[in-house]
Structure formats: C-alpha cells, structure tokens
Amino acid sequence: MASNVAGRRSARSRAGALIGGFARSRELTLLAVLLVLAALVAIEAPNFLSSNNVVSVTSLAAIIAIAAVGEALVILTKNIDLSVESTMGLVAFVVAVLLKQQNVPMPVAWALGIGLGMALGMVNGIIITVFRVPSIVATLGTLSIFRGLTYLVANGHEINANDLPAGYTNAASQTFFDIPLFVILAVAVVAVAGLALRYTVFGRQLYAVGSNAEAAATIGIRSRTTVFLAFALGGMLAGVAGVLWGIQFGQLYASSASGQSLAIIAAVVVGGVSIAGGSGTVMGAAIGALFLGLIANALNVLLLPQEWLQMIYGAVILFAVSTDAIIQRRTQLAKARSRIR
C-alpha cells in the first residue's frame, strides 16, 4: 500500500519533471504553442508557409519585437512605457524628413533617428525618476506629446515613397540565406540585450529593482539611475524600430505606428514578462511579437469572416497566456511536491 503510493508519487513527479523540463522556460512553451498553431494553419492554408508570406510577416514582427525588447527592459523595472508608438512614429517621420528635405546621407539619418529615440526615452526617464511621476501617467502624457510633435513636423503632409531615395524600401524584403534582414537584426538585438541582462551588473540590477526596489536600495543599487537607463535604452530601441518602420512602409503619415503600443505591450506580456516587474526575458518578448504577428496573419490567410477577426485574435491571446499559466502552475506544484518529499 505504502509502496504503491510512493510509486504513484514518484511517477507523478517524473511526469512533472518531464513537463518541467519542457516548460522550464515560458519562452519554450510559447514557442511550442506557436509551432503547433502554425502547423494547423499550414494544413488548412498551405500558402501560409510560402516564402513571401513568411518574409512579410516576420519582417513586421521583427520591428515589433525590437520595440518589445525595449519595452521589456522598462517593464522589468516595474514601469511601463505607453509612449513607445509615438516615439516610433516621430523617429520614422523625422528620418524621412531628413532624407527628403535635407539630403542627409542614409546612415547619418538613421543614427540621428536612433539618437532621437534615445533622447525621447531620456525625457520619459527624467519625468519619472527626477519628478517622480508614475510611469503610466508620465508616458500617457508623452504618448500624446510625442505624437503632437509628429503632427507639428508633418504639418498636414505625408511622406511618399517617391520622396525617399530610390529603392529605400527594398531592404524590407531583403533576405540572407532566406532569412529576412529585419529578422537577423531582431535576433541580434535580442541576443545582445538577453546576454547583457543575464551577465552584466546592470542587467541584474534591472531585475533587482523590478522585483523589490527597497531591497535593491538596501544593497546599494541606485534604482532611479537604473530606471532612467532602462527608459533611455527602451527609447533607443523604439528609435531603431522607428527607422525600420520607415523602411518597411515607405509611406509615412503623422499617425504612423498609432496603436502599436498596445501590440508591443501585449507581445511583452504574452512573452512571459511579468507586468509586475522583475521576471521574464527579452527573448520571451520577441517570441511574443512573432506569435501575435503570426496569429494576425493566420486569421486572415484562413479566410475567416472579417467580423470575427478581432474577437478571435483576443481569444487566442487569452488562450496562449492561460495555457502557459496552467503549465507553469503545474510545474511549480510538481517542484513543490518534490521539495516536500
């Protein structure tokens, strides 16, 4: 009898360990859900996996992923940046104006754009750390202010592809060994940010500030400096995303990238970064962006009725996050059980 129970227990814990191994990281479970869904969609609509479709979907997802990495840095510190879409929109528009009206060389315009993104991030950082305004309020304000600046710069005009250097948008469909250029860039950004978070002092401080600011302070971490840097880097990455946005679309409006903040924050959260700060990875955020991009495309490719798309999109997000949460809880329970034993 006793041995029977013990046997059942150990079987359960072995199964738990198996799930645990598989689900050790939230990123892997999300990736698995993503692949299964992609396979199902591909059976129904083979063109889903055509190279053209994959390139166009992943290129756009790569832009969102880069912005999501920046957003993740901020969210890890238990803050949030709602202004990211306006930063992207302003950078994209200013870069286009520099190219169109000032004939600035492309690399210089891009560098200035990324610098502008960083400066906007610093503005957020200063409002939040120096003037102690809660980040959700501060960036709600700058969301509007940065967008307003874009309207001022645009002055009712748009930038068309023929205002930009010939072939400017070609980079968006460029591939190396069948991998889109933007995806390579996103992977590079994720790798650098991911390694920095894991192995540098600053990276560990981000997590420390996010999980417990007071404890972080007692061990001598200057949390305000850390938060400021997170916003500056987040702004810089939003700047990179803004530059890529301009290359991707070629046609820029004062309202460019409107509504993307929610998509970016959704990607971060779906990717397993805790909205309460202190836990999650930038790789998760990037996978979250890819996941949402694929879902949006899949729903269209499947020719579902247009009226239903929004609801299904939302339902899939909930499904992905809750499946993930259930697996996580099971894993933790299994761990807890084995610890008790």
């Binding site: 609509a45 063109n47 889903f48 055509s50 053209n52 479709n53 390139v55 166009s56 979907v57 756009l60 967008r147 309207y151 645009a154 009712g156 005009h157 748009e158 068309n160 592809a161 023929n162 948008t169 968006a172 469909s173 991707q248 679309f249 070629g250 046609q251 409006y253 004062a254 309202s255 460019s256 990238a257 409107s258 509504g259 993307q260 949006a296 495309n297 269209n300 490719v301 499947l302 020719l303 247009q306 009226e307």
Partner: protein, 366 residues
C-alpha cells in the same frame, strides 16, 4: 489670468463683427435674404454678433492630418476666402466615430452656423448631428454620408454607381483579358462610402456580361491604417495565389497594397487599382504595380461643400430635391441640382495613368 477674459471676449466680438461685415459685402450678389440686421454699430455681446451673416463654419473630417482631408480643407478655405465666414477644421486623430461625436457636440454648444462633416459611421454620429440641426445649425455632409435625416445636404464626390463602375472598369483594364480573381481592400468595415462603392462594384460585376470573367473572391478591411492595410494585402496574396487585381478604394490601402506587390516581387502578376493620391501613387504607376487608378478633384469637393453650407445659411437653398444653384470655382461656374435625399454630386471621377500623372503630382501637391 482670468481678469483678462472680458477684454478678449470684446476683441473677439469686434473681430466677428468685422468678419461679418466683410463677408456680407462679398455675398451681396447672391441676394442673401439674411434676417440679421447688419450694422457696424457697437454690439454689446459676442452672442449678438453670431447671427450676422455666415459666422463660423466647422469642418469635421473623418480624421485630421490625413492629406486627403487636408486638401479638401484647403478647397473649403479658398471658398471661405471667396464667400466669407470663418472656417475651422477639427476632428479625431484616428478615423473613429466615437471620437468624432464630441467634436460635433462642441460645435453645437459653440453655436457654429454650419457643420461640414465626413461621417466615420453614418448612424453613430446621426443623433449628434440631429441635435445640431435642432439647434438651427446647417449640416453638410461631404466625402462619407451621415445617415439620411442627419444632414441638410450631402455633397457626394461622385455618385456611388459611377465610382463602382469606375473601379470595376479599372480592374478590367488591369486584369489580363479582363479575366481572373479580384479582391477588395477597403478601409473600416463601417465606412459608409466604401461599403456603398463595394456594393456598386458587385452590381456592376453581375450586371454586364463584359465582366463575366472577373471574380470577386474577397473583401478585407485595412481600417485606413498602414500597418493593418499592409498585413491584409499580404494575407490576400497568400490566401489567393491566383489573384490578379487588388481594388483599394482608399488612399492608404492602395499605397499599402502596391507596396506589398512590389516587395513580394509580384509586379506584372498582381495589379493594384482603386482610389489614390497622385503623389502617393506616381512611383507605382510608373513601376507597373498600379497602371491606373482614379480620384476626383478633392479641392473642388471641399470648395463645393463650403459653398453649399453658405447657401444653406443664407437660405438660398434648403436641401430639397430639385433645387438648383451655381458654384463659382476658380476654373469657372458649375450648375448643380440637388437630387433625391438632398444629395449633390460633384462630378465624374478622374482616371490617372502614366501619361497624365506627372502634371497632377504637381497641381494637387498630394
């Protein structure tokens, strides 16, 4: 700070009186039966100055900072210069009816003399417009019609059937031998004009044997958002490998679709047409992604809408079917007749191709 406001109000009143005087002077030939006594005598309150002549006209586009509506606004501005009155443009930064309603309500509270509006949603904004009309404000629809009964006159850029036929004709021109699958990339699912044009396209497709080989396989919505329009166009190409033509009756959608066709190397295999701006489309017309597309004279649309508003304020027209009036454009006078449901049609749409596009890039400037 606040103690200054009476002085500002007085200043405003004076400005209004002056504006009123100059505008009545210019509109005098139209035999305006204005009931308001136009005198240069000092008026005590700004409220008393308001009923004088044309007053303030508020233009509410679907979305501000949209180049299309900005050009229509420019047309209305030149009409305001010619006919008198003060014109302001306000509106939502995203094409969203719920965001449009507060602008209508504000214009009503501020007792504007007329509202010129392009409906984000015909029925959603109707109660707000009816409240404005009940308050004595003249309502002129342009570009996208509010629901019937929620406007005095609707200035239609081209009649729906004409545009539907034009869109199908262009698809027929672009599809090799006028044969194959076509799809529509529209704006918002609730956009009145888009839906009316799509219905007219369907009527045209089924009503003429000439188009028997064109098959409309899908209608998708890009919400006039570049990102969503792009992803929708990508999905169309993936879901329909045999697609020949994407018809996008929206300036944002047509550029997004042409860009996708170009990026995917489908130039010469899939064609794009619809309604676009010369400057946005010039590269794609020359590059072969979109050999033909159409538009109407947007400046004239804004001009006509303002002229109609002025005639309504003056009482020279009431918005009933059969009424005739004349509008003096910079290019010459045009006679109009108000049709059923108070609709006035601007004129036929204009088709752009590689031979004529350059001159319109210059003259439209958008």
């Amino acid at each position: 700070m606040f103690h200054r406001s009476p002085r500002i109000a007085a200043g405003l009143a004076l400005t209004l009186i002056l504006a009123g005087c100059s505008s009545t002077a210019t509109t005098a030939p139209t035999t305006a039966p204005t009931t308001a006594p136009v005198t240069a005598a000092p008026v005590v309150t700004p409220a008393a100055a308001t009923p004088v002549a044309i007053g303030s006209v508020v233009m509410i586009p679907k979305q501000v900072n949209n180049p299309y509506f900005d050009v229509a606004f420019k047309g209305a501005q030149s009409a305001a210069t010619a006919l008198g009155g003060t014109l302001t443009q306000v509106g939502p930064s995203a094409a969203d009816a719920t965001q449009q309603i507060p602008f209508i309500q504000t214009a009503t509270t501020q007792k504007a003399s007329a509202i010129i509006v392009s409906a984000d949603d015909a029925t959603a904004i109707a109660p707000a417009l009816q409240a404005a009309m009940a308050a004595g404000i003249k309502v002129v629809g342009y570009d996208s019609s509010p629901a019937k009964g929620a406007y005095n006159v609707f200035v239609n850029q081209a009649d729906t059937a004409g545009i539907g036929k034009g869109l199908v004709d262009m698809a027929c021109t672009e599809a090799p031998s006028c044969t194959g699958e076509i799809a529509v990339l529209s704006a918002a699912q609730t956009a009145t004009n888009q839906n009316a044009w799509i219905d007219a396209m369907k009527t045209t497709l089924s009503g003429d044997a000439k188009y028997a080989n064109l098959k409309l396989v899908a209608t998708v919505y890009g919400d006039d958002d570049p990102t969503k329009s792009t992803t929708q166009a990508q999905a169309l190409l993936s879901a329909h490998p045999n697609l020949k033509v994407i018809v996008a009756p929206t300036t944002v959608g047509i550029v997004a679709a042409a860009q996708v066709v170009k990026a995917q190397g489908k130039t010469g295999k899939v064609f794009v047409t619809g309604l676009g701006t010369p400057k946005g489309m010039v590269d794609f017309v020359k590059g072969g992604e979109s050999p033909v597309f159409a538009l109407w004279n947007v400046t004239d649309l804004g001009y006509l809408a303002y002229a109609v508003a002025v005639d309504l304020i003056n009482g020279t027209i009431k918005g009933t079917a059969g009424e005739k009036f004349t509008v003096k454009f910079a290019s010459g006078s045009v006679d109009y007749t108000i049709g059923a449901d108070g609709v006035v049609v601007l004129g036929p749409p204009f088709v752009f191709n590689k031979d004529n596009i350059d001159q319109f890039v210059a003259s439209f400037g958008f």
